[in-house]
Symmetry: C2
Subunit: 140 residues, 2 copies
């Protein structure tokens, strides 16, 4: 028994177009991920904790993992890594750059960085994308 407003329509389409039944859990997760103005960078554990905190009926860990993987396979999420052993996900699926500031991740739009010189791909290979990480530290 759940209501459905026009806002949710988008997510339902996103899910259906990925061959995923728009179950309650999936719609809720999609809403949480995509219904925001700024890019969202997260781990599955963070996603689970922040969503389940507010819910009486918790969504299971497995469903968070399943849904994030499905959305990634469908091309709605991008995976990346910091230097620990946890997967991060990015709601910005376009090729782009990042500031890394002590575990905090900030997007840099692709056109904010341009190259003067870039190496050629080794023979038999071609460049798929070029992504830059700018690591930050505090002044002084």
């Amino acid at each position: 028994m759940h209501k459905m407003n026009s806002k949710n329509k988008t997510f339902i389409d996103k899910l259906r177009s990925s061959g995923l039944r728009p179950t309650n859990q999936r719609v809720e997760i999609s809403k949480f991920l995509f219904n925001r103005k700024k890019t969202f960078h997260f781990t599955v554990e963070e996603l689970k904790n922040s969503m389940n905190l507010k819910r009486s009926k918790k969504i299971s860990t497995a469903t968070f993992y399943n849904t994030v993987h499905a959305l990634k396979s469908a091309g709605y999420l991008k995976e990346f890594s910091l230097e620990n052993n946890t997967s991060y996900y990015d709601t910005n699926i376009k090729s782009h750059h990042h500031f890394f500031d002590n575990g905090k991740v900030i997007d840099i739009k692709s056109d904010k960085i341009t190259f003067q010189k870039l190496p050629d791909a080794p023979k038999g290979k071609k460049i798929k994308n070029v992504e830059v990480v700018i690591r930050l530290e505090n002044n002084n």
Copy 2:
């Protein structure tokens, strides 16, 4: 009871200067890591397997982890991440760039990439380093 040639001297100094006693295990690992012409990128598990394969007396997993961490803390190794949840280490400790080609990592010297435009650091922050990953795919 172990012999010691002049080749090992370097590694012993490296270890001593890091406050580490040059035990047999640490010297062997250092030799394996640093006694090569090209940069070496590896996971602890890979290191352990390739070294222990050739040895009758195996070095323990804990010692591989301990030694790699110690060498990293001493500044002789750099840690980085691909998009799985495993730590990689790099014997090239200078800031530099990489090609990523299906799990294979290739160094790009810093001066092979130069920038035309780079964003400013957010206020209160400064740039520590800028590293580029060029992802490759096969032609056609």
